[in-house]
Symmetry: C2
Subunit: 130 residues, 2 copies
DNA sequence: CTAGTTGCAAAGAGTTTGCATGGCG
DNA sequence: CGCCATGCAAACTCTTTGCAACTAG
C-alpha cells in the first residue's frame, strides 16, 4: 500500500510547475523550495523516479531530477554541457534512430535515463568569439 | 609543466590493458588494482579525463572510468542497464545520426561523455522467461 | 487501530584538499 | 635546485538509514 500524503503532493506539484527545469536534492533542501524534510526529499525523489513520474539524470556532482512528461518517454534529450539547456528530440528522425538501434543493435533505448551531452550552436559561437 | 611520473604511467597502462572495462576509483583503491595512493588515483582519473585519455561515465553511485580509444570519439555507446555491457555503435548509421543532430538540432554530440542506456536483447529475453 | 510516513540525527560512501615529504627535469 | 607530484589524514558533500513520533486509510 501507498499513502497519499501532503509531502508527496508537494513534491509532485513542484516539479510539474517547473517544466523542464532540473533540481538536485540539495538545491531543494537548502533553498527550501519545498517544505519537506531532508530525508523525505531523497526518499520521494527516488520513489517517484521508479514510478516514472520524475526523470533522474546525473549532474556533475549530484543527481538531478525533473518532471517526466509522457512525451519524454518517446524521445531522446540533448543537453548542452555549457549552458545546461535541454532540447527534446521530438522530430521524425527520432523514430529512425529508435528503429536502427532496435533492429541493428538489438537494443531498446531508455529515453528517460539517457542524456546526450554536447554543445548547442549558441554556446559554440560564443566560444569561437573568444 | 607536467612530469612523467611512475604513477601516471601505471594508471594509463592499467586502463590500456583493460580495454572496454570500466572501473570506479574505489574499485581501484580497495582492490589495490594499481599501486598508487588514494588521492593520486582521484587526481589522475580527473586529469586524464580532461586530457581525453580516459572516458568518464556516471555509474549508479560513483564515476566510472575506462580507456578512451580514438575510435570511441567518433561513435556513441550503448550500455545495458542490466548486464552493464557496452556496445560501440560503429556502424554506418552513426554518421546519419551525427549529421541529423548537427544539421537539424544544431548540436554537436560529445561521444565520450554520452552513454545511451537501455536493455540489450539478451537481458530482455532473460527477463521475459521469468 | 494498523501500517505506512515523516523528520531528526547519525552514519556511510565518494571525492577533494592541506600540507609535509619526495622525485622529475 | 626548483617546482610539481605524492600520500596521508582531515574535511566536505551527497545520500542512506535507524528510530520514535505521527498520520492516512
Amino acid at each position: 500500500m501507498r499513502y497519499n500524503t501532503k509531502q508527496r503532493e508537494l513534491i509532485i506539484s513542484f516539479f510539474e510547475k517547473n517544466g523542464d527545469k532540473r533540481f538536485t536534492a540539495s538545491q531543494i533542501i537548502e533553498n527550501k523550495l519545498i517544505d519537506v524534510g531532508e530525508a523525505t526529499v531523497f526518499r520521494y525523489l527516488s520513489a517517484l523516479t521508479k514510478e516514472g513520474i520524475l526523470r533522474k539524470t546525473q549532474g556533475e556532482n549530484a543527481a538531478e531530477y525533473s518532471f517526466a512528461k509522457n512525451e519524454c518517454k518517446a524521445h531522446l534529450h540533448l543537453q548542452c554541457t555549457s549552458c545546461g539547456r535541454t532540447e527534446h528530440m521530438d522530430c521524425d528522425f527520432m523514430k529512425d534512430i529508435q528503429n536502427h538501434v532496435e533492429n541493428f543493435h538489438r537494443f531498446e533505448i531508455d529515453n528517460l535515463r539517457t542524456v546526450i551531452y554536447g554543445k548547442c550552436s549558441q554556446c559554440r559561437s560564443k566560444e569561437n568569439k573568444k
